[in-house]
């Protein structure tokens, strides 16, 4: 049968394409890196794409992976061919159902983009710790190692499960395979149809639960029968490997691609063999082939079907000459005698090896997508060749603590000379990755060359760096690791030269191409010494283009991806220039054609212009500078930051040894201050004369990069020349003091929310405000000096700061410079929380955007104040955050209770007034808290020198006598969906916890999938045609309990109410829920307009503001107070400004009109409901 033409796709799309065609029901839930599979399936179904049998598969998004697994189980029981996609924590949530589905011998295939399980830290990257946690469930496990194999094995797994009745987990490495783009042969419908057995489908359906021939499943069995019944499935597992091999053989006949349960490659008479599975085996294959060609008797055994593990097939696949085996596991099981594959190999050899057993050692590699290179494979082979091979080793890291790691020759590389290897450094959102994806497709589909692309992304959302690795060559590319000796290095931002060793990976004689505003003649001298040295050493050819100028002239703003792409084609010569230009323009048309001809025209203009503007830089024969790259962090940074954080910031985290790290995932706070990123092109500059000192700029800043302070005039003596200061005119408590608004020029992202919020206009020129966005280059140096001085000014005395919104901004933010998007609508809430309660705050943070910008290394934004106090932050999981936060409350209360008991116990030995003061303290105000802290200090002083155990314990626990504020923080995906059950339970109790839901109305972190918070009419992934149902009213549900404090806030619409709600929630001794409107890039508009949209959301009745306070009910007043007036404008005015609604209008105008009318009705109904509730009084209640 003829194979379809080659295509260039990523692993997720290839797998989804097979799964979608072979399924009737698909239940999913987003989780990185598997989300795109579900998204593809949803898009295709939404577009009416049919499966092999002419039905459009039903795709349903559930509230969690646990829910998806349940839905899958049900659909299977009902007889439908069903699939799902997941990874990591999601897979863990599916385990109970995997047991059930397997126990019921149900034909089912799940596709897993294998990802790290969170332990000491979360990681979104790839390893086998998730799939290995399922090896005991009874699912068959088939592992693919490349994009081609992922597509092929998806089909084999679907076909095999139907025949074998054993459910299948098809897995492949997250990111390395799921996100790698490769030129592969797809599978045609005909090939798929020939592979799946129609009779087996009929048999699957015949086992369906149906009232037409009822049976019962899911019984409860007892000691008399369970065991025997459990053994009854054995024949199916025994037959399964044979079935899989049968399908593989049929597959080979259909496609020419041959697979076996265990595939061996290398010397036929190998004595040393590596056993492993997944993408690492591709790199291993390269190294083994190289070594075997050099005459070494080495080989590689790739495990395809890991469960059921066919010991005899395994032994048959090994050369009989083998004497030593190294088993590589991409997972870690602390405390186990060996990792799982290692154990399986030992058991299999023991069972089936005919003679004296080969010696077997095992090791770990590649956790969390750690690089696995041919050099590491050679290290493993060398270990095997050693007289005493080391067992339980690691490879790819430097373990200087337990000394388990193998030494690796870092210089060794196997890349063939005829492969073009290009590395591009881009800045997120400059179009680099998108253009490279086009490039790889052009070359993949226009030439006979094989192509591979892999993209490395930063962990930050604003100003993230992207590194694209592109390979083109005459043979299929097996190099499943980053390019180490590039023939082309492209930089879309010259700043990278100051931050990273970008030329370290350049090969000898490579082309080095930079987008820069510096003229070619001045470019060489502008390079730091390190770069000059490498250019000379490696004899690099240097080219530059002013891509920004080209982009600007072409009307493309800062979008330079197309420019860089054009220059790559011009300089690399991969394609004849004329063809390249033609294909690039076609790709632009394809990618942006729907955006409109103007977008296409401008991109085309950028291509033409770019080609004319590339210039070669004459490299003199010697270095002309001694200027080194600036250090990654300032000299003032603490030791840990210098030793560890700085290395990570420089992109060299791989080089850090095990001993550099905390053993338990505990990291110091306040590190974001050291990672200066200087992202903004324009920063706010203050005009003290115009300023009305409202502090709104500081309030709305998502990154705490513009701040207000009041201070004694004397402090100005040391002020730098350009430092602006004016009399404090507005805050009575600080009369006679000076006032300054100061920008942090290297931390500002240039989002301009502060300027949008600024109400103070120059009456002679209203375009000029008290803060204006001005070019950073003209102001950076001065503002840098000013900011340093500003930070040194003392923070305001908290006990003197009034409780109003203006004064709140005089409190030090203990959340600063996070990695959140420019213009983020969530972080201003988090920051405000830390200003008001930060020095006694415990935060439980659900996984999502806020846990990423709040906890993703290398640097984190939570910090402490001068006294060393600040928010204590932790992320447990996505689904359990409310429970986790409750646990923090219970734990802290237990310690506080303990302290009080000890205090009472020791009271006779302590000053009476002190004890009484400590026990009866009123801690409702900052002054009360400060007094209590003084008492704690006095207590410690009184306990000093005492040796008795109660005194020592009280000394340790004394700080718990100061009230702690527990906040449970997360997004709508957590609160409305996956964590709702737990949240509901926590709210239902009487515990003093506070919940802050930052509602972006969509799963923001995983890329815009709908949640139950998504409003009616909005487009989101899994609601591509616009959500049909209204937004879940979480606040109303919580109000129903009566004892929960509930508020709905929007800081951009009414900041006073936001602060009031946070303070009331905190002071309410029971559970509190604050639902906060958070504008987001997933809403599809320029976020500088975020505050205006918040106002429109409120004014249109899309987001009414309210506070429901049970304290009012106790007094016989209506507990609900509406803080926004009757809607003044139609919801249309809100909706028309946001891409998420507008795309529906553009897709289907009638539908939009219908949804709009429904949304308006919904808003009217909601308002009417609230209005009536706000008038509802109940009789006064007795104080509980």
């Amino acid at each position: 049968m003829e194979n379809p033409a080659f295509v260039t796709l990523d692993g997720n799309e290839v797998v989804a394409s097979v799964a979608h065609r072979l399924s009737e029901v698909i239940a999913i839930y987003p989780i990185t890196p598997s989300s795109p599979m579900g998204e593809f399936a949803d898009e295709w179904s939404a577009a009416g794409r049919k499966n092999l049998w002419g039905k459009v598969p039903t795709v349903v998004e559930m509230q969690s992976e646990g829910g998806a697994a349940g839905a899958v189980h049900g659909a299977l029981q009902a007889g439908a061919m069903t699939t799902t996609f997941t990874a990591s924590q999601g897979l863990l949530l599916m385990i109970p159902n995997l047991y059930k589905i397997a126990g019921e011998l149900t034909s089912f295939c799940i596709h897993v983009a294998a990802r790290t399980i969170a332990t000491h830290a979360l990681s979104i990257f790839g390893d086998h710790s998730d799939v290995m946690a399922c090896r005991q469930t009874g699912v068959a496990m088939l592992c693919a190692g490349s994009v081609q194999e992922a597509g092929d094995f998806a089909a084999i797994a679907h076909a095999a499960t139907l025949r074998a009745r054993v459910p299948f987990m098809h897995f492949f490495d997250g990111f390395r395979t799921s996100h790698e783009i490769a030129k592969i042969q797809p599978l045609s419908d005909e090939q798929l149809a020939r592979l799946v057995d129609q009779q087996a489908i009929a048999a699957h359906r015949s086992r369906a639960l149906t009232p037409d021939r009822p049976v019962i499943r899911g019984t409860a069995q007892n000691p008399d029968t369970f065991f025997q019944a459990r053994e009854a499935c054995n024949p199916f597992y025994a037959a399964c490997p044979g079935t899989v091999q049968g399908v593989m053989d049929e597959f080979a006949a259909l496609t020419g691609r041959k697979y076996r349960l265990f595939d061996y490659e290398g010397a036929p008479d190998a004595e040393h063999v590596i056993v492993m599975m997944g993408s690492g085996a591709e790199a291993a294959g390269e190294a083994v082939a190289w070594a075997a060609a050099k005459g070494r008797k080495v080989g590689l055994l790739k495990v395809r079907l890991y469960r059921p593990f066919d010991a005899h097939a395994f032994v048959r696949a090994l050369p009989s000459t083998v004497k030593r085996i190294a088993v590589l596991d991409r997972t870690k099981e602390p405390g186990a005698v060996a990792e799982p594959l290692h154990l399986d190999v030992l058991a299999a050899l023991n069972e089936a090896w005919p003679g004296a057993l080969p010696r077997v050692v095992g090791g770990r590699y590649g956790l969390s997508s750690k690089e696995f290179t041919p050099a590491m494979v050679l290290a493993v082979l060398d270990n095997l060749a050693a007289e005493q091979p080391r067992n339980h080793f690691t490879v790819g890291i430097n373990d200087d603590r337990t000394r388990l790691s193998l030494p690796v020759d870092d210089e060794f590389d196997l890349e063939p000379a005829d492969t073009v290897r290009a590395v591009f450094y881009g800045l997120g959102s400059d179009g680099t990755v998108g253009s490279n994806k086009n490039t790889i497709k052009i070359i993949g589909e226009e030439t006979d060359l094989f192509a591979q692309a892999y993209f490395v992304y930063d962990s930050r959302k604003a100003g993230a760096i992207t590194v694209s690795h592109l390979r083109f060559g005459p043979r299929p590319v097996r190099s499943t690791y980053r390019i180490r000796h590039a023939s082309f290095v492209g930089l879309s931002h010259p700043q990278f030269l100051e931050q990273y060793d970008v030329l370290e990976g350049a090969g000898h004689g490579a082309t080095f191409f930079v987008n820069t505003g510096t003229a070619p003649g001045a470019f060489w001298d502008s390079l730091p010494a390190e770069a000059q040295r490498l250019v000379l050493e490696k004899q690099l050819k240097v080219y530059v283009v002013d891509g920004w100028k080209v982009a600007a002239e072409a009307g493309m703003g800062r979008h330079i991806g197309t420019v860089m792409q054009a220059c790559f084609f011009a300089l690399s010569g991969v394609l004849p220039m004329e063809t390249a230009v033609e294909r690039m323009k076609e790709a632009v048309e394809k990618a942006y054609g729907k955006r409109g001809q103007e977008v296409v025209r401008r991109n085309h203009a950028a291509i033409d212009l770019a080609l004319k503007r590339i210039q070669r830089v004459e490299v003199p024969g010697k270095a002309t500078t001694s200027r080194s790259r600036p250090p990654a962090v300032a000299e003032a940074a603490p030791d840990f930051v210098q030793r560890v954080t700085a290395i990570m910031l420089a992109g060299k985290g791989d080089s850090l040894p095990v001993s550099a790290f905390p053993v338990d995932g505990t990291w110091p706070v306040g590190t974001s201050q050291w990672g200066k990123r200087a992202l903004a092109r324009e920063i706010p500059i203050w005009d003290s004369k115009l300023c009305i000192q409202c502090n709104k700029c500081a309030l709305v800043c998502p990154h705490a990069a513009i701040r207000a302070k009041v201070y004694e005039p004397a402090a100005l003596q040391a002020a730098p020349a350009g430092f602006q200061s004016t009399d404090n005119r507005m805050v009575a408590e600080f009369k006679g003091q000076r006032y300054t608004i100061q920008v942090a020029p290297d931390d500002c992202t240039g989002c301009s929310l502060c300027v949008q919020a600024c109400p103070a206009k120059d009456r002679t020129n209203p375009r000029h405000k008290a803060i204006d966005m001005l070019p950073v280059d003209a102001h950076r140096e001065r503002e840098r000096t000013n900011y340093d001085f500003f930070l040194g000014l003392p923070e305001a005395d908290r006990t003197k700061v009034a409780a109003d919104i203006r004064s709140s901004q005089l409190l030090q933010p203990l959340f600063e410079y996070s990695g959140a998007c420019a213009g983020c609508g969530e972080t201003p809430y988090v920051k405000l929380l830390t200003q008001v309660f930060g020095d006694r705050l415990l935060v439980a943070n659900a996984t999502g955007c806020s846990s990423i910008y709040g906890g993703n290394l290398p640097t984190t934004p939570w910090r402490c104040n001068e006294q060393g106090r600040g928010p204590a932050w932790a992320n447990s999981l996505f689904e359990d955050n409310a429970e986790f936060g409750l646990g923090l409350r219970l734990g802290a209360d237990a310690l506080a209770q303990n302290a009080r008991l000890l205090l009472q116990q020791l009271a006779p030995t302590l000053p009476e007034a002190l004890v009484k003061g400590l026990l009866d303290a009123d801690q409702a105000t900052e002054a009360g808290l400060a007094q209590q802290r003084d008492r704690v200090a006095a207590l410690r002083a009184a306990l000093k020198g005492r040796q008795d155990a109660p005194a020592a314990t009280l000394d340790q626990l004394a700080d718990y006598l100061v009230k702690k504020s527990v906040w449970i923080v997360g997004g709508d995906g957590w609160a409305y969906d996956i964590g709702f059950g737990g949240l509901d339970h926590v709210l239902a109790g009487q515990w003093d916890v506070n919940v802050l839901v930052m509602d972006t109305e969509v799963y923001s972190n995983t890329g815009g999938q709908q949640s139950k918070a998504t409003p009616l009419g909005a487009a989101a992934k899994f609601a591509a045609a616009g959500k049909e149902t209204g937004k879940k009213d979480l606040g109303l549900l919580a109000m129903a309990y009566g004892h929960v404090y509930v508020a709905r806030v929007a800081f951009g619409a009414k900041d006073v109410q936001t602060l009031q709600a946070l303070r009331e929630a905190e002071s309410w001794p029971g559970p509190s829920l604050v639902i906060a409107y958070s504008h987001c890039i997933a809403h599809g508009y320029d976020l500088s307009q975020g505050l205006e949209q918040q106002k429109l959301a409120v004014n249109s009745g899309m987001w009414p503001l309210y506070r429901f306070d049970p304290r009012r009910a106790r007094k016989g007043e209506a507990p609900l107070v509406l803080d926004s007036g009757k809607p003044k404008s139609p919801v249309r005015e809100f909706m028309q400004n946001e891409g998420r609604f507008r795309m529906i209008e553009l897709r289907d105008r009638d539908r939009y009109q219908r949804l709009l009318a429904m949304a308006q009705a919904e808003a009217d109904r909601r308002w009417a409901h609230y209005e009536q509730l706000a008038g509802l009084k109940t009789p006064p209640q007795e104080q509980a």
Binding site: P33, P36, A47, D458, H559, Q597, A1024, G1139, M1143
Partner: protein, 333 residues
């Protein structure tokens, strides 16, 4: 006998001269049907603004595409963002739908910014089934480096280019702010305009001095605005053969009669329909018929132009003399 109200406009034979002018009413098919029921002889679409399309395309490119491909967990933030079209598609689709849902001709309206845009969109409108296109020259000359001739040349080039590219009749809707309107109108006609619409109403922002902002307010027209139209309709139709439609300020049947008397082939109404609903159109038509019958005008053709500059009993009223006399009468009054 009731008078003959038929007229021709842009090659279309119309049962009467009163048509709904460019307005958002066309967005709603139901309203369009009600206009047809009220006797609308044709319907003018609101303008397709090329600038708005371009801005939206670029905005989508920058705000939807820009965040993609930069963060490992979310390579995009929207469902298949190529599944919706940013461009004239929705507008063109509406032309098709109106054509399908009603029996009346559709006149599309276009405001372009680039020469290519004018030609491209006019062509697409013709393909979508528009019976004619109204080119809405709606731009303020704000560049001191461009002289009046330059502004006119640009406009004429557009008309020539569109004329060369599309076969359906073209009207040009202009403002009153051209230095020599008759000269420019003749040039437009020679460049290929089959009719002139007098005048478009500029959006003029108001000031909010409280907040030091400009504020947007849509002001409906009233009958006072008619005078300027009558004046120029009378002048142009006397001097040129190009048919004219009067747009702006027609609220009463008598207003329509005046416009026709000034020389208009057609009368566009918007504000009164927005105020009183589609059925107001029938009232205007019936009112015109009744008025004509009472005054024994047998047909619109007979009424048309009776008060234009060539025929009115007091041509000076059109020109400077009129101004002087008014002042005098005021002093004397």
């Amino acid at each position: 006998m009731s008078p003959d109200l038929t007229t021709t406009w842009l090659g279309l034979k119309l049962a009467h001269p009163i048509m709904p002018g460019a307005s958002p009413m066309v967005d709603d098919l139901d309203t369009v049907r009600r206009l047809e029921d009220a006797g609308a002889p044709c319907i003018v679409m609101h303008s397709l603004f090329e600038e708005q399309i371009l801005r939206e395309q670029l905005a989508a490119h920058l705000h939807l595409d820009a965040h993609s491909e930069s963060y490992a967990e979310a390579l995009s933030y929207f469902p298949d963002s190529n599944a919706f079209a940013l461009g004239p598609d929705a507008y063109l689709e509406q032309i098709r739908r109106i054509r399908k849902a009603t029996h009346i001709p559709v006149i599309a309206s276009l405001n372009g910014v680039t020469p290519g845009g004018w030609v491209e969109y006019a062509g697409l409108m013709a393909q979508a089934g528009a019976s004619a296109v109204e080119l809405n020259f709606y731009a303020l000359a704000s560049d001191p480096d461009e002289d009046a001739g330059g502004v006119e040349r640009r406009a004429l080039e557009v008309v020539q280019a569109v004329r060369a590219a599309v076969n359906i009749p073209l009207a040009v809707k202009i403002s009153p702010f051209w230095t020599s309107l008759p000269n420019f109108a003749r040039a437009l006609s020679r460049a290929g305009a089959d009719g002139l619409v007098l005048f478009n109403r500029f959006y003029q922002p108001d000031f909010d001095l409280e907040n030091l902002e400009s504020s947007r307010r849509l002001q409906l027209s009233d009958s006072r605005e008619l005078l300027l139209r009558l004046h120029w309709t009378g002048i142009l139709t006397a001097r040129l053969a190009t048919p004219v439609a009067c747009s702006g300020g027609v609220h009463e049947a008598l207003d329509a009669a005046k416009a026709i008397a000034a020389g208009a082939h057609a009368v566009q109404v918007v504000s009164s329909l927005l105020l009183h609903g589609p059925s107001a159109l029938a009232k205007l038509r019936d009112g015109l018929a009744a008025w004509m019958e009472e005054r024994e005008y047998a047909s619109v053709a007979e009424l048309r132009g009776c008060m234009n500059l060539a025929r009115c009993p007091d041509p000076a009223a059109y020109e400077r003399g009129n101004y002087i006399r008014l002042l005098q009468s005021w002093h004397g009054g």
